[in-house]
């Protein structure tokens, strides 16, 4: 396979930088790694063909500093830039600045990032493409009668929240018309006192929500899906454990879910790798689109494990102008894969970030085991960035076998003296609810509240 890209600037750090460099090498592309002062010695910097330092440790002054990154791109002579995830990966102005310089931004164009990166716009696009969204009020509700009528139409339980609030503020769940009649005046008072605006939104409350997302690839004309992942195990909205495919999804619904993601991506002529995130409501047996990510995701390896497709290579090929090399019917989902995130956080101390030295890094090896990391023995986890040390990914012909393999691999995995979340994953891999696939997005926080972990 060939691509017109000759030299690629890696505008990220840690494990995803390593992952991008590996994909670039496979395609014969030279690499330039940008580093902050704190990252001079990181693994990706040692692997890349060239290194450019772009500023002090603080991300705002280095990896998030648009001027410095663009300056590095200019100096490097690279003809393309891969933004990875996080940092500037979903910054539409940045993507535009890269293309304005005549370079390739590995991802969708700025217009698509802007449109699909905005939750409200993305929701509108989904509705237009016939993709279901969480049913709720279209605009503000200012009185109890309108709320009652709508709740009857949606079905209980429903959730009411302040129009002016944000971040989960002012949300209450009601299960009957009587409860709703009592709750609405109280919620209006709370919203008025808190925000000076008593307007409310009402929407279906999904009691046992599961987070399911669909991986898609598009070349601007054709769009394919690479099936779904489930990422219901979350702590403070951070995914902790991810699987492909989703264990609890009925087959008929899976086909419809994946088709809806393709439909939505096609409606915006999507180009690149992307992810449609959904909530699955097992009680209503329905799925609802919530948002789209216009970039590679941390958990992409589980999809790679079950489909055999190298997503980062595909991104680079599409960015280079190639059409998709595969048709939907070529893509198969075989077996089951699980990824767990190993973070430098101490689960015994309420996940306190614990940056520090990595003297020991023993990684299990073998068929169907993969460990993606940006560190090796002798490195330090710096305190300035996210705490991801590495991702352990295993697969098996069935979910049960994958879990069994994960359990063994976690026993062999040894990282220290820095504190990590390995003990959490060892405990989870033995948990009955998890083995039964009996979880929701609320499950992990509840479990953590009830179970003390020791490191």
């Amino acid at each position: 396979m060939t691509t017109p890209i000759r030299k690629l600037l890696v505008a990220n750090r840690g494990e995803i930088a390593v992952r991008i460099i590996r994909a670039a090498r496979k395609l014969g592309i030279a690499t330039v790694q940008i580093v902050s002062e704190a990252d001079r010695e990181m693994l990706a910097a040692r692997m890349a063909d060239e290194v450019i330092e772009i500023g002090p440790p603080a991300a705002a002054k280095s990896y998030l500093n648009v001027g410095n990154v663009l300056d590095a791109l200019r100096r490097s002579g690279a003809d393309a830039l891969h933004p990875g995830y996080g940092f500037l990966s979903e910054n539409a102005q940045f993507a535009k600045a890269v293309t304005d310089m005549g370079r390739i931004f590995v991802g969708p164009d700025a217009g698509t990032i802007e449109r699909m990166g905005d939750k409200v716009n993305a929701r509108q696009a989904a509705i237009a493409a016939g993709v279901p969204v969480v049913p709720g009020s279209e605009g503000r509700l200012d009185d109890a009668r309108a709320a009652l009528e709508l709740a009857e139409a949606i079905g209980y339980p429903v959730m009411i929240k302040a129009a002016a609030g944000g971040g989960g503020r002012g949300i209450r769940v009601v299960r009957s018309a009587e409860e709703l009649a009592a709750a609405v005046p109280q919620a209006i008072a709370e919203a008025t006192a808190a925000f000076g605006d008593g307007g409310l939104y009402l929407e279906a409350y999904i009691e046992n929500a599961r987070h399911i997302e669909v991986q898609i690839l598009g070349d601007g004309e054709t769009v394919v899906h690479l099936f779904e992942r489930e990422c219901s195990l979350q702590r403070r909205r951070q995914k902790v454990w991810e699987e492909a495919p989703a264990a609890a999804l009925p087959a008929a619904l899976r086909a419809e879910l994946c088709a809806s993601a393709v439909r939505l991506a096609r409606s915006v002529a999507y180009r690149g790798a992307g992810t449609m995130e959904y909530l699955y409501d097992p009680d209503r047996n329905a799925f609802y689109f919530i948002e789209m990510n216009t970039r590679i995701q941390v958990e992409h390896p589980v999809t790679e494990m079950v489909t055999g497709v190298d997503l980062v290579c595909e991104m680079l090929l599409i960015a280079g102008g190639r059409k998709l090399s595969m048709a939907q019917e070529d893509i198969r989902c075989d077996g089951h894969a699980i990824e767990v995130r190993i973070n430098a956080e101490d689960p015994a101390r309420n996940f306190f970030p614990s940056p520090g030295p990595i003297d020991r890094l023993q990684v299990p090896s073998g068929e169907a085991i993969r460990f993606d990391t940006g560190f090796d023995a002798g490195s330090r986890v710096p305190p300035y960035y996210d705490s991801l040390v590495g991702k352990l990914i295993v697969s098996g012909s069935s979910r049960a076998l994958a879990i069994e393999r994960l359990r063994q691999a976690l026993e062999e995995l040894d990282i220290g003296p820095v504190a990590t979340t390995i003990p959490l994953h060892r405990a989870l891999a033995r948990n009955a609810d998890l083995l039964d696939g009996n979880v929701s997005t609320q499950w992990l926080e509840r479990w953590l509240a009830e179970n003390a972990l020791s490191s």
Partner: protein
């Protein structure tokens, strides 16, 4: 049986006893109203401790105190997150905490917000001065800020105390997460002393809270004001500066303009003086001023009296007894 009291092991930063409605009826002799700065958090703390909502309790500022309970009691901590610990173990905020004699409640520095409240069943029973237990620390009216080893007497426990209650998150005051606060304010009494463009400017600019702010005033940094003819051409009795006016009463919440520095006059502010007050913060928005930290940005939203009334009614609802639910 121990006396019902609390011993102050560490006083914190100007921790005071406050009570509602404050010192009413003495403004004409120069005594400020005082009382809790964030009434929302204060009342919810009392409800959780099983008290009537206006009972005397402690207001902590930026750095909380360490207190030893010399009797069994029900305690509640609300307001700024000072990460309370009971005998070294993290203790929950916004819910009733039963404590036993000898236990120690420790509050640290405020991570979110600026003012925390500690209510104890029975209330703090310091002497009433001019009708209130509220402390005006600067003039030592009603006592002064807590001191190490001070013993605070408690009132008799309320009947029916002992329920474990919590305030659901939706009913708590929402603290800014992006360092900006929307503050509802009304024009007047002296907006006619400013150039009309400066009146508009006040409601559109970003105003940053200075570190010199305290319970007497929230000092703001921001753009400059231009004055109206009335301020520039006046009798010498008013004083020389355009912002000078013949001494007059200062409304609570007034945005007082001394030269070019706006100071929002809050609970312990002077009752009168010789500077103009072009704007006044709505009474139901005071709690936000209490929780704004140095460097935070205030944006003022212009409202009328009718809307100020709706805000008061809403605040009344979220600080009424029904808001604390049994756990």
């Amino acid at each position: 049986m121990n006396a019902r009291c609390i011993t102050v092991l560490k006083p914190g930063l100007e921790t005071t006893v406050q009570e509602l409605p404050g010192r009413i009826g003495y403004l004409e002799q120069g005594f400020p109203v005082s009382g809790p700065f964030d009434k929302w958090s204060f009342r919810q703390a009392n409800l959780l401790a099983g008290n009537p909502r206006d009972t005397a309790a402690l207001e902590c500022q930026f750095l909380g105190p360490t207190l030893r309970f010399d009797c069994d009691a029900t305690v509640a901590v609300t307001g700024a997150d000072m990460r309370p610990k009971l005998d070294g173990e993290p203790a929950a905020m916004w819910r009733s905490l039963p404590v036993r004699a000898g236990q120690v409640l420790e509050l640290a520095a405020a991570y979110s917000g600026a003012r925390g409240y500690v209510a104890v069943s029975g209330g703090i029973d310091t002497p009433v001065v001019l009708g209130s237990r509220a402390v005006f620390h600067m003039a030592r009216v009603g006592g002064q800020a807590l001191a190490r080893d001070q013993v605070l007497p408690l009132g008799p426990p309320p009947s029916g105390a002992g329920d474990i209650l919590a305030v659901p998150e939706a009913s708590r005051p929402p603290f800014s997460t992006d360092k900006t606060w929307q503050i509802e304010a009304l024009a007047g009494p002296n907006d006619d002393w400013l150039d009309p463009a400066s009146v508009e400017m006040f409601f559109s600019a970003d105003w940053s809270v200075q570190a010199k702010s305290n319970r007497t005033g929230i000092r703001l940094s921001g753009p400059q004001f231009a004055f109206a003819g009335r301020a520039l051409d006046k009798s010498s009795d008013h004083g020389q500066d355009p912002s000078n006016i013949i001494d007059h009463g200062y409304p609570l919440g007034a945005v007082n303009l001394a030269g070019q520095t706006p100071i929002i006059l809050v609970n312990d502010a002077p009752s009168t003086g010789g500077f103009i007050n072009p704007f006044t913060v709505a009474s139901a928005a005071f709690w936000k001023l209490a929780q704004a930290k140095p460097g935070d940005v205030l944006r003022f939203r212009r409202i009328d009296r009718e809307e100020a009334g709706r805000l008061r009614a809403a605040l009344e609802t979220v600080t009424s007894a029904g808001v604390a639910v049994r756990v």
